[in-house]
Structures are given as structure tokens and as C-alpha cells.
């Protein structure tokens, strides 16, 4: 009896080991598919122009002399002028940061109110948010742009700082009220035991103290999750900035938008620069991803369906 069991166990173990080898092979193939484009991007950015022409089949430069880093060193100055890309980088950076801060602040306020404060119309408010999720965003884009353009025209904001701030207001603010994020935060707050909050309140703690001492530390991972998804969404958004910034100065563009200048053309003279620019634009994303990837993946696994 015991012997038999041992044999079965070892068989299943052998099976498991075989499975692992098969899985590793599959994953290795997948890794080539998913990793290769990054290698190609990196390699093309350091290939000399001559090499890009003569050896398109190689990922990395053909010989030691063909390595070039001038595209990276010459980033900030291009043809005697400050390149637009670093400026676009700054535009993206501040608008993304503002979007993230606004989103998190609004979500925290709403979730705190909904869970810990009794007020009128609370049920109506939440019910409304749930129902509103069914309305597709596409029907809002066109009228939103019409609103944007009408107000811009009426105020005469065509150039200068005012126009810039007005455009960025429309880039930053509309995305900050995502309902999914509110529900995520609400659910997190709802999981905090009510007794803790009640006992703190009976000890005379103010709402601010409860929020800072109890709620905020507990909500940290949810906040991080919302920060990450908002960061990615804002940093990579293309459609709305393309609409709002069309016809505006190049120096006002966001980074993702600025890079569209390198797409859609088969001009190989640009390959090196476009790849170097892509690497440059990818750096913030990569840094954020490296430090938070396990959190991001866990968050995606537990919240399930985002996007």
C-alpha cells in the first residue's frame, strides 16, 4: 500500500518536472517575441547611419567602430536649437503628475465621504456612478472637443501662457474622475473595520486624524495601484492630446504625441533618432515598472478587469 503510494507520487513529480520543462520552452519562445522589439529598439539606436543602411538585418552594430552614442548625447540640442523632445518630456511629466495627484485626491475624498460620513444623497450618488459606467466614453469625445474649442474661441485663448494652461486644463482634469478608481478606493475603505474608526471617533479623533492615522496607512497599496494605472494611462494617452493639441506649437506637445512625428513614415534616415527618442521616452515607464511590477501585477490579478 505504502509502496504503491510512493510510486504514484514520484510519477506525478516526474510529470510535474516534464511540465516545467515544456512550460519553460514555451515561455522562452514567448520571451523572444515580447523581448525582441526592445532589443531591436536599443540596437538600432546605437547603430551608425551607415550600418543602418548596409546591415538592416543585424540587431546590433556590425563592428566595434559602428557603435554610436551621438543620438543620446545630442539629445538636448538638435541642429543648434534646443530639441523639442526634452520640452515635450517636461510637458508630459508635469501634466501626468498633476493628473495622478488630482485623481488620487478626488478618489480619497469621495471614498472617505461615502464610507465614513453619513450624508444625504449618498445612495443616489453611488447608484448614479454605477449606472454611468454603462455610458461609453466615445459619445463624449466629440462634444467635449466642441466645448473646448467654443470656450477657447470665446475667450480668445490662441497663444501665450493662458492658452497653454487652458489646453493642459483640458488634458489633465477630464480624466481625473474615472469611476473605476473611485469604486476601487471605496471597496478598499469598506474593508477597514468600522470598529476601529468608531472607537477612534469616540476617543475624540477628528476626521482629519482618522484619515491620516488610520485610513491612509491602510489604503497605501490601493493608492499605489491607482497611481500606477493613472500614470500609465496619462503618460501614454494619444487620442485626446492629438485632438486638443492639433495645430498647436510643437513645444506644447506631450511626449507620446511628439513621438508620432516618427511614425507612419518609412524614412530610414530617421530610424536612429526615432529609436533613441523611443528609448528616452521609455525611461520613466521603465523605472516605474521595475520598481513596482510585482505590485502592479498583483493589483491587476486581484482587481481583475482594468481597461
Amino acid at each position: 500500500m505504502v509502496k504503491k503510494q510512493k510510486r504514484v507520487l514520484s510519477k506525478s513529480e516526474r510529470e510535474r518536472r516534464k511540465n516545467k520543462i515544456v512550460a519553460f520552452c514555451v515561455m522562452a519562445v514567448a520571451a523572444v517575441f515580447f523581448g525582441f522589439p526592445f532589443l531591436y529598439m536599443l540596437g538600432s539606436s546605437v547603430k551608425s547611419d551607415l550600418d543602418l543602411q548596409l546591415h538592416p538585418e543585424l540587431i546590433f552594430p556590425s563592428s566595434f567602430g559602428e557603435w554610436t552614442f551621438e543620438r543620446y548625447t545630442g539629445f538636448f540640442m538638435y541642429a543648434g536649437k534646443i530639441a523639442t523632445l526634452p520640452i515635450a518630456f517636461l510637458n508630459s511629466l508635469w501634466s501626468t503628475a498633476a493628473n495622478v495627484l488630482l485623481t488620487v485626491a478626488l478618489d480619497l475624498l469621495v471614498a472617505y465621504a461615502v464610507i465614513f460620513v453619513r450624508f444625504k444623497f449618498k445612495k443616489v450618488f453611488m447608484k448614479f456612478l454605477y449606472l454611468w459606467m454603462a455610458i461609453p466614453g466615445v459619445i463624449a469625445t466629440a462634444p467635449m472637443f466642441a466645448m473646448y474649442a467654443t470656450i477657447k474661441n470665446a475667450l480668445g485663448l490662441h497663444e501665450g501662457v493662458g492658452a497653454y494652461l487652458y489646453i493642459y486644463l483640458w488634458l489633465i482634469v477630464p480624466g481625473s474622475t474615472g469611476i473605476f478608481n473611485v469604486l476601487l478606493m471605496r471597496n478598499m475603505f469598506a474593508s477597514i473595520p468600522m470598529e476601529i474608526v468608531e472607537s477612534a471617533r469616540s476617543d475624540g479623533a477628528s476626521n482629519m486624524q482618522i484619515f491620516r492615522r488610520i485610513v491612509l496607512p491602510l489604503a497605501r497599496s490601493t493608492i499605489l495601484l491607482i497611481v500606477l494605472f493613472t500614470f500609465n494611462g496619462s503618460w501614454n494617452s494619444l487620442a485626446w492630446p492629438l485632438l486638443v493639441l492639433s495645430g498647436e506649437s510643437k513645444t506644447w506637445e506631450t511626449l507620446t504625441l511628439a513621438l508620432t512625428g516618427y511614425t507612419g513614415s518609412s524614412n530610414w534616415g530617421q530610424v536612429g533618432y526615432s529609436m533613441a527618442s523611443s528609448v528616452f521616452a521609455l525611461i520613466p515607464t521603465l523605472i516605474v515598472f521595475l520598481f513596482t511590477q510585482s505590485k502592479m501585477i498583483d493589483g491587476l490579478s486581484s482587481t481583475g478587469v482594468k481597461k
Binding site: 459619445i139 463624449a140 486581484s302
Partner: protein, 352 residues
């Protein structure tokens, strides 16, 4: 005796007054709390109303108007004219609007199954936890956070039309992947778009499926094994029923997301063919951003509403399907309970 009752009455009265006062104070604090709560959600509501609630409402209003944001004197009510124009197929603009649905449906019909099947198998294999699986998981997910423009730059250069493209130089060919003729070479463009989309979009579903695989109770597999079920039986009878609900949710999310096809075609197209392979979202964006079409903003809003109705049709089906999945997951629980009972029964029997 009498004084006693008076005293009692007095005490009662004072108690009542106290209670009333307390109630009053309570009411006051309630009101204050209520005001505080509303003050907390006020900023959200303000932004939500201006940027989320008003636009669709205005959109409906604009669709019955001839609206020009740059010339407010030109605005007038036109009734159903915009909708009549949309269904007037003699107008080239309406024709291109409806043909854009064709592009969208091709993309959805091919893209959605791919976006479910490939992550499904990758998640299945990652769940066996091969060596280095955390690295593989991160690598497969990473393209998801890369911006679509960078994706366009990389794949656009890889599939460049002349011999300088990587793929062409490998194959020794000069296939015009992206810069081919309209219509005739669309299939090549689609191939590139689907490869790029797979690279870009697999991550999310892959992670979600991997979590779903992981959450299938191990005892169910063991039970299946005990009943003599092989590898395929396990997949068919344990894995698939248990992750069906997750797959359904992801399927519809992908489908609805893919209806809004936009970026891929923008970044993976040659400028010379800017007008081919237009999706509804691209159509709407194109006519909005072009200054010379500002006078037909009302018409574009009507188009956006028509498109919105199509999207809502699918999201309604999704809601129905998700409502169904709730009962299904309950069935899963029943199933687990059943297996647990049976396991206990079999172990007891074997012990006996």
C-alpha cells in the same frame, strides 16, 4: 405623596427636555456631518458634471444642430437633418462613416479571439511555474505599459516597406507591409497590426488569466486525478469551467476596447495612405481635428452617438453575461463543496 409625584413629574419633564435637547444636538451634528460629507464629494461632482456629464448631454443637443465652435453666429437648430444625412448613402462622408464600421468589425472579429486564446495558453504555461517564471511574467506584461507611439515606431521600422526593414532583410524580400496600395495590400497591414497588437495587449489578459488559473482549487485537480482523468480531462472538466467567468469578463472587455480601434492604425500607417483603414473613432477624431470641417461638428456628434449606440449594444450584452457569470461562480462553489464531501467520503472509505 403628592410632592413625590410632583418630583417625579419634574424629573420626567427635565429628562424629556434633556432628550429633546440631545436629539436637537444630534440632529444638528447630523446636519453638520451631512454638510461635511457633501463638501467632500463636491470637488468630484463639480469636475464630473463639467467634464463627464455635460459633454454627452451637449452631444445629444449638438446632434440636432448645425454647430460650429469657431463661428457661434452659425449655430442653428436643424432637427433630424444630421441623422438623415448619416443615412443618406449618396454623401461620401456618410459612406466613409459606415465603411469605417467594416474596418472596426474586421479588427474585432480577428483580434478578440487572438487576445483571449494567446494569453490563455501563456497563462496556462506560466502557471506551471517554470524556472524564472517571474521574469517571464514581467516581460510579457511590460509591453502593456509602453506607449502606443513607441510600439508604432518599433514595429513600423521592423516592417518597413523597402529592403531596409528588418523583416524584409531577413526574408530577402521587398514586401510593402505598411506602404502598399489601398485595399489591395490591406491584408499585409492587418498582419502587422495584429502582430503589434498581440505584442502590445497580451499582458493584461495574461496576468488576469494567470491569477484565475492559480485560484482554481488544487483539490479539484487531485479529485479529477483520482477519478483517472488525464491532462486533457483536467483542462476540460476542471480548468475551463472554473475560469470561464473570468474569460467571459475579459472577452467582453477586450471586445468593447477593440471597438474603439484607434492608435494602432494611426501609428502603423503610411502617411500616403492616411485615408484607408479608418475606424469609427478615427473618423470622428479626423473630422473634429480638421479645422476646415468645424462647421459639421453637429454631424460628427450625431455620428459619435450612432457609434456610441453600437458600443452600448455590446456593453449591454456584457452586463447580461456578467450577471450570468455570478450564478456560474456559485455553481463552482457548489462543485467545490461536492468534491470536498466526496473526498471525505472516499478517504473515510479507504481508511475503513
Amino acid at each position: 405623596m403628592a410632592s413625590n409625584s410632583i418630583l417625579e413629574e419634574y424629573v420626567e419633564a427635565s429628562e424629556e427636555a434633556e432628550i429633546a435637547e440631545k436629539k436637537k444636538a444630534q440632529k444638528k451634528s447630523r446636519r453638520r456631518e451631512s454638510a461635511f460629507g457633501m463638501a467632500l464629494i463636491a470637488p468630484y461632482i463639480l469636475i464630473f458634471v463639467v467634464f463627464s456629464l455635460v459633454p454627452p448631454v451637449l452631444g445629444i443637443a449638438f446632434s440636432f444642430m448645425s454647430y460650429n465652435p469657431y463661428n457661434t453666429a452659425d449655430i442653428r437648430f436643424v432637427g433630424f437633418q444630421n441623422y438623415i444625412n448619416i443615412f443618406n448613402f449618396d454623401l461620401p462622408i456618410s459612406k466613409s462613416f459606415w465603411s469605417s464600421f467594416g474596418t472596426m468589425f474586421i479588427y474585432v472579429a480577428i483580434g478578440t479571439p487572438l487576445a483571449v486564446i494567446i494569453p490563455f495558453f501563456l497563462a496556462y504555461f506560466i502557471n506551471m511555474e517554470p524556472p524564472g517564471y517571474k521574469f517571464f511574467r514581467a516581460l510579457i506584461y511590460f509591453p502593456n505599459v509602453v506607449s502606443i507611439t513607441i510600439m508604432g515606431i518599433i514595429f513600423g521600422n521592423m516592417f518597413a516597406g523597402d529592403s531596409s526593414g528588418l523583416i524584409n532583410s531577413w526574408l530577402g524580400t521587398e514586401i510593402h507591409w505598411l506602404s502598399g496600395e489601398p485595399w489591395k495590400d490591406d491584408i499585409l497591414r492587418w498582419v502587422v497590426i495584429f502582430i503589434a497588437t498581440e505584442w502590445w495587449c497580451t499582458g493584461t489578459n495574461f496576468i488576469i488569466f494567470a491569477a484565475a488559473f492559480r485560484d482554481v482549487p488544487k483539490s479539484l485537480y487531485e479529485a479529477c486525478e483520482m477519478d483517472g482523468g488525464g491532462k486533457w480531462k483536467k483542462i476540460l472538466h476542471v480548468t475551463i469551467p472554473n475560469i470561464k467567468s473570468t474569460v467571459t469578463v475579459c472577452l467582453f472587455n477586450i471586445l468593447i476596447g477593440y471597438l474603439g480601434l484607434y492608435g494602432q492604425v494611426i501609428v502603423l500607417n503610411d502617411f500616403t495612405n492616411a485615408n484607408i483603414m479608418v475606424s469609427p473613432t478615427m473618423f470622428i477624431q479626423h473630422y473634429l481635428s480638421d479645422f476646415s470641417y468645424a462647421r459639421i461638428t453637429g454631424y460628427v456628434c450625431a455620428c459619435a452617438l450612432m457609434f456610441g449606440i453600437v458600443v452600448m449594444f455590446f456593453s449591454t450584452i456584457q452586463r447580461k453575461a456578467m450577471g450570468e457569470h455570478r450564478t456560474r461562480s456559485k455553481r463552482t462553489e457548489d462543485c467545490i463543496a461536492y468534491f470536498a464531501d466526496r473526498d471525505r467520503f472516499t478517504t473515510e472509505a479507504s481508511n475503513g
